[in-house]
């Protein structure tokens, strides 16, 4: 079943095309990767999907509804949650409080929100950091909190913007496990990532963006062999199998 479709999305900033004639579909419960070189327009796509930018032209259909011109909070209410590439936790609040506020998106009682928060903090593996202020966390923990906060809104579609950037390989593996767990909960995932190991193992399908345009789309192994992708992003060495 088709969960999200973007049709002919265009967005320019003062004559510079950030996203151009971009079309794609995301199926329910899929994990889709979005890759491309720096400045390709990946985060702009997320900003369009989550309502932080309005597209110049084109439409975004989510769950059969046109959400193109909705505000960010309305889109979140519909079931699309996002993380920020540059993490934006509520710095002066505890981990617990950060997540509890987001849990109120679908809940009304303090009791319900507390319960959801406790479960989520456990899922994130941050029980021992529950009462820490967000500003006192390490970057890995802040990325985790970012994920937890967006998850607390109970989304159908989760937009993950480089949640692994700056993490060491053990931390990356932990996040990959976590994303699999989230996917098993029935949540559809659209993920931007530069760490190829992660994106190639996680994604069922990968979309490659360059200069705001889609240059390729397909299974991870197809992508890694595609000439255009190698030229624009992966580099000559990547496509060659280890020998």
């Amino acid at each position: 079943m088709e969960l999200l479709s973007a049709n002919n999305l265009n967005k320019s900033f003062g004559g510079l095309w950030a996203v151009r004639d971009f079309n794609f579909i995301i199926e329910l419960r899929e994990i889709v990767g979005l890759i491309g070189p720096n400045g390709a327009g990946k985060t702009t796509v997320f900003n369009l999907l989550s309502g932080f930018y309005k597209p110049d032209t084109g439409s975004i259909i989510f769950n059969g509804e046109n959400i193109t011109n909705l505000k960010p909070y309305e889109i979140c209410k519909k079931g699309v949650a996002r993380t920020f590439q540059l993490v934006k936790p509520f710095d002066n609040l505890t981990v617990h409080h950060n997540i509890r506020i987001a849990a109120y998106n679908t809940l009304n009682s303090l009791k319900g929100a507390e319960e959801t928060t406790l479960n989520l903090v456990n899922l994130l593996g941050m029980s021992n950091k529950r009462d820490y202020l967000a500003k006192d966390l390490t970057i890995a923990e802040r990325k985790r909190l970012e994920l937890g906060r967006s998850l607390a809104t109970r989304p159908t579609l989760l937009l993950l913007d480089e949640v692994m950037a700056g993490l060491n390989s053990k931390e990356v593996n932990d996040i990959i496990d976590l994303i699999y767990k989230i996917s098993d909960m029935g949540i559809t995932i659209f993920i931007i990532e530069h760490i190829m190991k992660a994106i190639m193992t996680l994604s069922q399908r990968v979309i490659v963006l360059n200069y705001g345009q889609k240059i390729c789309e397909g299974k991870p192994e197809e992508i890694s062999r595609d000439k255009k992708v190698i030229e624009a992003y992966l580099g000559e060495d990547y496509g060659i199998p280890e020998n």
Binding site: K88, D91, I101
Partner: protein, 327 residues
């Protein structure tokens, strides 16, 4: 588990006992006070009340208003005019004044929040708003103009909100302060309070987790201006005289926000701490530095600089840090 549960109960009863003792203290306090000291206490409590009202918008919601005197003045003028022209009890005037104050708050709030006026710009708009209203009332003959309004002496009765001694005023403002603290305590532990705090911390993040920031900022300014305008009626009835320079002054706006800032904005007892420190301080400087008007303002200035430099979270955060060190 069992142990921590019992601990929780213990904490709660302890809290209730503490609050009960505090209330008892304040109920019995006037018997030990001279008329002058009672006046000082009333003014302190008035600022506890006003500071806590300000804190709903400024402390929790993070929208620093430099023009709360406008709401106070609107409340004061509404109830006084209704009393003068229609002989209506100030208690009804208080409610009507509150609603009008709230509508003014919603009006200016809508303009600011809809067009994304934030932080210091919001503070400036509010400052200007209060000044516009002051100038308006100063030149408006029907509401007394620069002469202001004198509240006519009716009778010593609760109905007319007029008493021949200060004691009833003390109990009324004590009740109002208690009510606003109760309200804020409820707010802190609610969904609405959490949304306010989210907006204060980061508006973009708040939007991204489904919070309609414009709407909730409007709720914040509505509550804050409603309660502040209630305070205006008390102000007018207690002073029995109001004029535009008294009720809409920039100085008054600053007085209102200084206490939560000093005590710790966005905390339940921050405005209270601030009021109990600044109140006696301004009285002391006024009596010690007799003849040098404005000395208390200089001391305020120094205090604010000290707070911003050394403990930006106010007295409450300072106390918390000290407690942590000893715990």
């Amino acid at each position: 588990m069992n142990f921590s549960f019992r601990n929780l109960i213990g904490n709660r009863t302890l809290k209730l006992v503490f609050i009960f003792l505090l209330l008892l203290f304040f109920l019995l306090l006037p018997t030990f006070l001279t008329s002058y000291l009672l006046h000082v206490m009333i003014i302190i409590l008035l600022y506890v009340y006003l500071g806590s009202c300000w804190d709903i918008l400024g402390g929790y919601c993070g929208q620093t208003s430099f023009g709360h005197a406008s709401f106070l003045g609107i409340g004061a003028y509404t109830s006084t005019l209704l009393l003068l022209k229609l002989n209506l009890s100030p208690w009804f005037g208080m409610i009507i004044g509150g609603v009008i104050g709230m509508l003014c708050g919603l009006f200016i709030g809508f303009l600011c929040f809809r067009y994304r006026i934030r932080e210091s710009y919001f503070a400036l708009v509010m400052l200007t708003f209060a000044e516009i209203i002051r100038l308006l009332f100063l030149n408006w003959k029907w509401v007394g103009g620069a002469n202001g309004l004198l509240i006519p002496l009716k009778e010593n009765s609760l109905y007319y909100f007029q008493f021949d001694n200060k004691l009833p005023y003390y109990y009324i403002i004590l009740l109002m302060s208690f009510f606003i603290l109760l309200f804020n305590n409820k707010l802190i532990n609610s969904k609405l309070g959490d949304f306010f705090v989210a907006i204060r911390e980061n508006e973009e993040t708040a939007e991204s987790i489904g919070i309609n920031t414009t709407k909730y900022k409007l709720v914040g300014i509505a509550l804050s201006s409603l309660f502040t305008a209630f305070g205006g009626t008390f102000y007018a009835q207690y002073l029995t005289y109001i004029d535009p320079d008294l009720t809409f002054a920039v100085g008054l706006s600053i007085e209102i926000l200084l206490r939560p800032l000093l005590g710790g904005s966005g905390t339940l007892f921050g405005p209270t701490f601030g009021a109990f420190i600044l109140g006696p301080l301004s009285e002391l400087t006024r009596s010690l530095m007799h003849g040098y008007s404005g000395v208390h303002l200089m001391i305020y200035g120094l205090l604010i600089i000290a707070v911003i430099l050394f403990f930006p979270g106010g007295i409450s955060s300072l106390l918390k840090n000290i407690m942590k060190r000893f715990a």
